[in-house]
């Protein structure tokens, strides 16, 4: 029996440090500092006016946006009710979006709007019309996950910055060129790419590169999974009591990802059960390699997780802000965080 549940966040009270190590499970290097060096103790290596990476945090509610800004986020991304893949519980309505924008503008910060579902052909015109109105409110960018939607927005709203979501599946330099040619202003890459790959991509494109440095890498790539709807398409449709398409999260079937990859499966070989397992996934938190990614030219450090609580958004954002500042002050190539909250597991995205 498959458990069909809403995405949830596993609450824990204690913050315990992760075992120090890099993405590949290697132990911490001896030259990693065990704590971040205060900026005041290091001469800045970044000249005034030099490019700094933007820290982009998730906000599934107004409180999360406020905490993200307070913790040092330069920008937040939010979902608009009915149009994003975050699920209704983690989206803002129009008034909340207006409030969020007002807060951001007061703090001289920015808001990106996730419109990362694929509207039905009949919905597209309505979406573009609504977006035209919202863009005038001062959005810094919209995030989309479909080439057709991207081009439609570009044609209708020439001045609006558009980000090709990680759900677009860009992985290589040619992918980024494709979305650049289509009119994207930025492309989001998954955090499991290596710094050298990012450097190659930056060398061959002119648009901004966002890297989801803090994310869950699932077994199946984001935007390329319809396992849940293969098993329970009807459940997905019931969960989507809106005008959205049914089906996978990629398509817009909100609530349709019931973490089937994280439920136990029997592995059957030649008709005989040989193992019981979940499909592999891992939390990626590449703070230790932040310097290498920044040196590779990453423009935006993105944190995944509009389903995170406001407190967690603040804690994680603060950690990344501290690391960014330390790198900017001292140019450190590797920074080992003192600890990351272990509760942000695969359930928490």
């Amino acid at each position: 029996m498959i458990l069909v549940t809403e995405p949830y966040f596993r609450q824990q009270d204690n913050f315990e440090p992760l075992v120090p190590g890099d993405l590949h499970g290697n132990p911490a290097r001896a030259d990693w500092p065990t704590a971040l060096t205060p900026c005041s103790q290091v001469a800045s290596s970044i000249a005034p006016g030099e490019r700094r990476a933007t820290l982009l945090a998730p906000a599934g509610c107004l409180d999360a946006a406020a905490q993200a800004f307070a913790a040092g986020a330069d920008a937040v991304y939010v979902g608009l009710k009915g149009w994003s893949r975050g699920g209704a519980r983690h989206e803002l309505d129009r008034e909340q979006l207006r409030t969020c924008l007002a807060l951001a503008h007061k703090l001289r910060k920015k808001v990106q709007l996730a419109l990362n579902i694929i509207p039905k052909p009949g919905e597209r015109k309505r979406l573009l019309g609504e977006l035209g109105e919202l863009a005038a409110w001062g959005l810094s960018a919209v995030i989309v996950n479909d080439a057709g939607v991207l081009r439609g927005i570009r044609q209708e709203l020439a001045d609006l910055a558009i980000t090709a979501s990680v759900g677009c599946g860009a992985l290589n330099a040619q992918d980024v060129r494709f979305y650049q040619d289509l009119g994207a202003s930025a492309v989001v890459l998954p955090g499991y790419l290596e710094p050298a790959e990012v450097a190659t991509i930056k060398a061959k494109s002119t648009i901004a590169v966002e890297l989801m440095l803090h994310m869950v890498e699932e077994f199946v790539q984001l935007g390329r999974c319809w396992m849940p709807s293969y098993l329970h398409f009807a459940a997905a449709e019931r969960a989507a009591q809106t005008t959205r398409l049914g089906g996978s999260v990629k398509r817009g079937g909100v609530g349709s990802c019931f973490r089937i990859c994280q439920q136990p499966w029997a592995l059957v070989r030649d008709g005989v059960e040989v193992d019981n397992r979940v499909l592999p996934s891992r939390q990626i938190s590449r703070l230790a390699e932040l310097g290498e990614f920044l040196a590779a030219g990453v423009d935006v450090i993105k944190i995944q997780g509009r389903s995170l609580t406001a407190d967690m958004v603040g804690a994680i954002t603060g950690r990344y802000r501290s690391a960014l500042e330390a790198w900017e002050c001292g140019g450190a190539a590797a920074l080992m965080p003192a600890g990351l909250p272990p509760m942000w597991t695969v359930q928490g995205r």
């Binding site: 479909d146 390329r224 319809w226 089906g247 990629k250 592995l267 070989r269 499909l279």
Partner: protein, 314 residues
């Protein structure tokens, strides 16, 4: 007069040579999931040249597949595959990745592009973008219905290729979890993913292939072919990248006969054909998402085959 195409997928030269292609019109060459798949056409350019010649010598069209999710390190090899395909006279390139689409469009504009299922064509707007980049046909994302497929094809004037039989792709991965079993099993990479493997949960099954996941059940549209033909579809695929030569041949025979009957207005299904289908179905049948329902369901006379069965092997 033939008005349709029946094609299949074959990952390497050995399997191509062992497959009787007499019931097919075209073949997709190459494994799109994994660079280390055994003797993958996409890593062995001499084999690819020979494979293209093998197919064309039999009067069939040779299509070359490309990786579903290549990272930068795979692009030089993709480049060589495209050059090889162009020189060897491949009839089309199958593209799942937008970067590869751009490479073909810019460097090999005379090579027709078939958009693959991982390119995520969900709407007419997406299909239109791909058509502008050289696409001459598309395999829709597997989770949209036939009604939606038809609307896209008509709106964009881009013909759709329909998976009519075989295990439906459900996802692609950047890593292979089957490598965890190398220390326990006799089979190692690059053959471990070709073993008889399923992931089972209650009444459900999926087929892991290392860097991808397929439906456990076989999509079967045999009894729905008259409706497909009636709706104007003319390009049909038997998905068989991880299947045996016998699977490809035996299913192609019955599908070809059924499509020919359907084009003549005959909607009967030979009972012997169902016997063949059952022989080559490991855990059951489904219709995918074609009828707007859960992908693992079956609509039609073979409802009992929608139940996952673990006894039959084919």
């Amino acid at each position: 007069m033939q008005t349709f195409e029946l094609n299949t997928t074959i990952s390497n030269l050995r399997s191509l040579r062992e497959t009787d292609l007499s019931a097919y019109d075209a073949v997709y060459l190459g494994n799109i999931y994994c660079r280390t798949f055994q003797e993958n056409f996409l890593e062995r350019l001499d084999d690819l040249r020979e494979g293209i010649a093998h197919v064309k010598d039999r009067g069939l069209r040779a299509y070359v597949a490309t990786y579903a999710a290549p990272r930068n390190d795979a692009l030089p090899k993709v480049q060589k595959v495209l050059e090889t395909a162009a020189r060897a006279g491949a009839d089309a390139i199958e593209v799942h990745n937008m970067g590869v689409l751009l490479m073909v469009h810019e460097q090999f504009p005379s090579l027709p592009v078939h958009v693959g299922g991982f390119a995520n064509v969900y709407t007419d707007a997406g299909a239109a973008v791909l058509k502008e980049h050289g696409a001459v046909r598309f395999t829709p994302n597997y989770e949209i219905s036939l009604d939606e497929v038809k609307a896209i094809a008509d709106s964009v004037s881009l013909p759709a290729e329909i998976l009519v039989h075989g295990k439906m792709p459900l996802g692609v991965s950047d890593s292979c979890f089957l490598l965890e079993y190398e220390s326990k099993w006799a089979e190692k990479c690059p053959t471990v993913c070709q073993e008889d493997l399923f992931l089972r949960q209650g009444d459900w099954a999926i087929r892991p292939v290392g860097k991808g996941v397929l439906s456990g059940k076989d999509v079967c549209m045999l009894e729905h072919l008259p409706a497909l033909v009636g709706a104007g579809y003319t390009m049909f695929r038997i998905e068989a990248a991880y299947e045996t030569p016998a699977y490809r041949f035996n299913l192609a025979k019955i599908y070809r006969a059924a499509i020919e009957r359907a084009t003549q207005g005959d909607d009967t299904v030979d009972e012997l054909a169902w016997h063949t289908v059952r022989q080559h179905t490991a855990v059951g049948l489904c219709n995918g998402f074609y009828f707007g329902r859960t992908g693992g369901e079956y609509v039609g006379s073979q409802g009992e085959m929608a139940e996952v069965r673990w006894t039959a092997r084919g």
